[in-house]
């Protein structure tokens, strides 16, 4: 697809954050992105700068340095590394298409590996909470049309999901809530974030105090007295006021971020938050929703769940899916030094994982499939440059609330580059040959 001359492409889906706005207008001239309208500043940077810093051919490591090589050679080396590995890990998957995840899951079966997606270091604990309690939620349009109370807890969308508040919540125009004045917005956080500045109320909580505060809120919602005067730095009266606000709204929602999943207690912060919202439904309509980070992290969970039954951290080393986050999760597998090879797709673990974990990655053969150089490509044995989903390649993705949409390319990729899906399928084909040969 070669686009000549200038044209404006409507309804383009932004492949940056989990809000996946789908109303971008992208101006393309002579195959280059010129401008993006109605997107946030991050999506503008993404679309305009997508083409800086790229490898254009596969690379393999020879005597400590990465050297250019042929696509076929890179495929063959990758397949050998993975087929010979006795406990490989396949990691990433949330900044690429569902089709890539599907190919990755089949590859994990054939090589007997652990396959985990970046959920593991964002909302993994959210899923662990859901396993214990369940979840009362909805698609984002429900919030837009009905919510009169919007709470952001441990989440700072102004920075992480810039258009979330405007498109889906406090600042959006809905059928039954016409404007901002029809809604109350509350922010609970350890610091007065830029999002807090948009709120009607800001509640500052001590770091690592979320579980206690949620506990106290559940008590107040039940109508029980609080014996302690101050909880997690918040006075009891303030907690009772918030509880009353929640009970008396017609339709409330809590959007929570990694401020809840990454702090002390992790999944139990979510467990208790889910319980609070469940309790509230005996009094009024109340929902809760995680603020998923990457544009297709939700898709990585969905595909993994329908193929294996489990949303992430799936161990296929014994030929069938097994699941126990804390054991089968990427950080733990690497920190224990258990795995002997890694495939990294559309992710940069060395920039996201604790140093001890990255140190083990640096010790084992790593194959990286990514459009851009990164800290992880620096320590890789094989590097596949690839096309960018949503800009140069199409593919299915899932929005943070699980709505499936399909991205389309707006420009053509640099000549000779393959997509994640093509690369993974070629590795898979080669692996099958090696395994059936054995």
């Amino acid at each position: 697809m070669m686009i000549l001359s200038k044209k404006i492409i409507p309804n383009v889906i932004c492949t940056f954050c989990g809000a996946t706005c789908d109303d971008l207008q992208v101006t393309v001239e002579n195959g280059k992105v010129l401008n993006v309208r109605s997107g946030c500043s991050t999506s503008l940077s993404k679309f305009v700068n997508y083409n800086v810093e790229r490898y254009l051919t596969p690379l393999v490591k020879k005597d400590g340095e990465l050297h250019e090589t042929s696509y076929e050679d890179a495929i063959a080396r990758s397949a050998e590394i993975l087929a010979n590995a006795k406990y490989p890990i396949l990691y990433g998957w949330s900044s690429t298409s569902n089709e890539a995840s599907r190919a990755g899951l089949e590859l994990a079966e054939w090589v007997g590996g652990v396959i985990d997606n970046t959920t593991t270091v964002c909302h993994g604990p959210t899923l662990l909470g859901v396993h214990d309690i369940g979840e009362v939620s909805a698609s984002l349009g429900e919030i837009r049309h009905r919510a009169d109370l919007v709470i952001y807890w441990g989440s700072n969308p102004v920075h992480s999901h810039p258009h979330h508040v405007m498109r889906y919540s406090a600042l959006s125009k809905g059928r039954f809530r016409l404007s901002r004045k029809d809604r109350t917005m509350v922010v609970v956080d350890v610091r007065k974030t830029d999002t807090a500045k948009l709120a009607d109320q800001f509640i500052q909580i001590e770091p690592n105090g979320d579980y206690e505060l949620m506990c106290a809120l559940r008590m107040a919602v039940r109508g029980d007295d609080l014996e302690q005067d101050v909880i997690a730095g918040v006075p009891a009266e303030r907690i009772e006021e918030l509880a009353d606000l929640m009970i008396s709204c017609q339709f409330g929602v809590i959007f929570f971020g990694v401020g809840l999943t990454m702090t002390q207690g992790r999944h139990r912060n979510i467990d208790v938050a889910l319980s609070l919202v469940r309790d509230l439904n005996a009094r009024t309509k109340f929902l809760i929703m995680p603020m998923r980070g990457w544009y297709n992290v939700a898709g990585a969970n969905q595909v993994s769940a329908w193929v294996t039954g489990y949303p992430y951290a799936v161990d296929l080393s014994q030929g069938y899916p097994r699941y126990n986050p804390g054991d089968t999760t990427a950080v733990d597998v690497l920190a224990r030094g258990d795995c002997d090879a890694a495939l990294v797709v559309a992710s940069d673990p060395v920039s996201n994982f604790p140093v001890e974990v990255s140190r083990h990655l640096a010790k084992i053969p790593v194959i990286t499939i990514d459009p851009h150089p990164s800290a992880t490509t620096l320590i890789s044995e094989v590097v596949f440059p690839t096309t960018i989903v949503g800009i140069e390649t199409g593919g299915g993705i899932y929005r943070m609330d699980g709505v499936a949409i399909v991205t389309k390319p707006v420009v053509s990729p640099p000549p000779g580059l393959h997509s994640d899906v093509e690369i993974l399928q070629d590795i898979l084909t080669h692996v099958k040959k090696l395994k059936m040969g054995q």
Partner: protein, 565 residues
């Protein structure tokens, strides 16, 4: 050109009036043929039973709600796994099997066609994503209407033709096969935390009643000439004595059909077949419902039979699931979908000694046994709501054997036992009748002319069971029946052997059926431009990103019909 000959089996093909006679089935290029050449591959079915491949009219196997159930319940998968082989993909069960596992397990039962009966329009792309990973079986899905703002508004304004055109647009956009109604109007109410009761309550903000919605969409269904009738999960599932609502719903569309042909399918009737005013006096409304069905031929139903096991309940009826959470205290998932519908999930264990569960078990079987015409009652568990689909052989044995029923009746809650009519019912299904309620009848109800029978030209989907109907008496040897039906000796899909002795030997990709109803360009143009105006107001997704492309289906099979408007 591939040829297959299934030789010398006892064939049950009710649509062609064949009731267990010895016959050969010739297959060429995936279709049943007059005859085949000497070079044909031969399946020796001597002493075995041959039936068309099973056709499941109602089984929740794919989509956002099913996957939410999988994510909710790792403990459900842990003990029930499928291993990776060079032919098959790994996966897990139990009550909510992963997609590949679902395809394999249906094929092992001799089923070759399955319909996912409840998919939110906005999330039907997700349903297809999963159906694309569900191998072997042909499939399709029923998108949810009746709580969607567009339908309710068109009907409230009495613009029935526009409503029909809108539905046609949606079926095309979502690649849907039939219209599903779940608690019409009631889910919109639940999304504001309220319940509707009966057919006459008005839906908040939309000034319309469930009765008006059911009648209106039933008419639209006919205007569009859709192959299946409207497929209805009635109102009041959460109400204790709800059998009357079921009968009222059937009656609300009486006379719309004319030529005494079915115009409504009431699904999993068991769940809306309860009498009583409180949980302690719940009873079976099956006799009343069966009586209505026996007297009126505009209705078909399926059982929604329960099996005593730990399973996962899931419906678009969010309000009902909340009630079930309150009753059970189990974990609870709710997911409302903007503009359209809702969903809820609660794990639940059906217990023999639980009074209400025992009554529910009785209602399902009473319905199947009291409704005289097997062509209008079909076997389902509303998988996984009443139990997972691998339990079908058990249910068949209950239908075919009074002795099997007595064994189970002896073990259920004694108060329930004394309250049910079931112990006094003598009827035992024949193999032909089983073939009707599991294949021929469902295929007919779905308007799949090439399925559910083995006449020349039919799709070569065949199940061969290691069971000799001339040697065994199902009434006495029901255990043998159960055993044989659990693992087909052979399952043939489009003329290819996919199962041998209960093991998967090949995994072709099945078709996905969807209906394209052609309405006049003028009408469609008008409705489309109206939708363009409302769409961005209603949805958080652009209209152009909402509609699915044919190429998104693994193996698209478009069913084109000419609408009346």
């Amino acid at each position: 050109m591939t040829e297959l000959l299934i030789r010398n089996g006892f064939v049950y093909d009710p649509l062609n009036g064949i009731e267990g006679e010895k016959a050969d089935i010739s297959i060429r290029d995936g279709k049943v043929a007059e005859s085949v050449g000497a070079g044909a591959t031969v399946i020796d079915a001597t002493g075995m039973m041959v039936m068309p491949g099973g056709v499941d009219i109602h089984s929740h196997i794919a989509g956002s709600k099913v996957n939410a159930g999988r994510i909710l319940r790792p403990e459900d998968h842990e003990k029930d796994v499928e291993r990776h082989t060079p032919i098959t993909r790994a996966g897990t069960g139990h009550s909510i099997p992963s997609t590949f596992t679902t395809g394999y397990r249906y094929a092992r039962l001799g089923y070759t066609t399955v319909f996912e009966p409840a998919t939110p329009l906005l999330k039907t792309r997700h349903t297809h994503d999963e159906l694309n990973d569900t191998p072997i079986v042909d499939k399709g899905c029923f998108p949810l209407f009746g709580n969607d703002w567009h339908s309710m508004e068109y009907l409230q304004q009495g613009r029935i033709e526009e409503c029909a055109a809108y539905i046609a647009w949606m079926l095309r956009a979502t690649k849907g096969y039939a219209i599903k109604l779940v608690n019409p109007g009631g889910v919109e109410a639940w999304k504001r935390g309220r319940y509707l009761v009966g057919l006459e309550d008005r839906v908040p903000n939309f000034d319309i009643t469930p009765r008006e919605i059911v009648r209106g969409i039933c008419k639209a269904n006919q205007l569009l000439h859709l192959p299946h009738t409207i497929h209805v999960h009635t109102n009041d599932l959460a109400k204790i004595g709800n059998y009357q609502t079921t009968i009222d719903t059937m009656d609300s569309v009486r006379g719309l059909g004319g030529d005494n042909k079915p115009v409504i399918h009431i699904t999993h009737v068991q769940f809306t077949g309860r009498t009583g005013s409180a949980w302690h006096n719940v009873g079976s409304g099956a006799p009343e419902i069966a009586d209505y069905v026996n007297k009126h031929d505009h209705v078909t139903v399926d059982m929604g039979q329960i099996v005593f096991m730990d399973t996962t309940t899931m419906t678009a009826d969010g309000g009902f699931q909340y009630m079930l959470y309150q009753l059970s205290g189990n974990k609870w998932m709710n997911f409302d979908v903007e503009v359209e519908t809702g969903a809820g999930i609660v794990p639940y264990r059906y217990r023999r000694n639980n009074y209400v569960n025992a009554i529910q078990w009785g209602i399902g079987l009473e319905l199947a046994l009291l409704i005289k015409d097997p062509w209008r009652v079909y076997m389902t568990t509303d998988h996984p709501n009443g139990g997972d689909f691998t339990k079908y052989p058990k249910i068949i044995s209950w239908l075919m054997s009074r002795k099997a029923r007595e064994k189970s009746i002896a073990r259920i809650n004694s108060i329930a036992r004394n309250k049910l009519d079931l112990p006094d019912i003598d009827r035992e299904y024949t193999f032909s009748e089983i073939a009707v309620v599991t294949r021929a009848g469902t295929a007919k109800a779905l308007g799949l002319k090439q399925k559910g029978h083995l006449g020349v030209g039919a799709d070569a989907d065949v199940a061969v069971y290691n069971l000799n109907p001339t040697k065994i008496d199902p009434s006495r040897d029901y255990r043998l029946v159960r055993k044989a039906l659990k693992k087909a000796a052979f399952t043939v899909k489009d003329g290819r052997i996919v199962v041998k002795n209960g093991e998967i030997v090949e995994t072709p990709m099945g078709r996905t059926y969807w209906v394209d109803s052609q309405v006049s360009e003028g009408l469609m143009g008008k409705v489309e431009s109206e939708m363009r105006r409302t769409f961005t107001e209603y949805y958080t997704v652009q209209m152009d990103n909402y509609a699915m492309d044919d190429s998104e289906l693994g193996r698209s099979s478009r069913v084109s019909v000419k609408a009346e408007v």
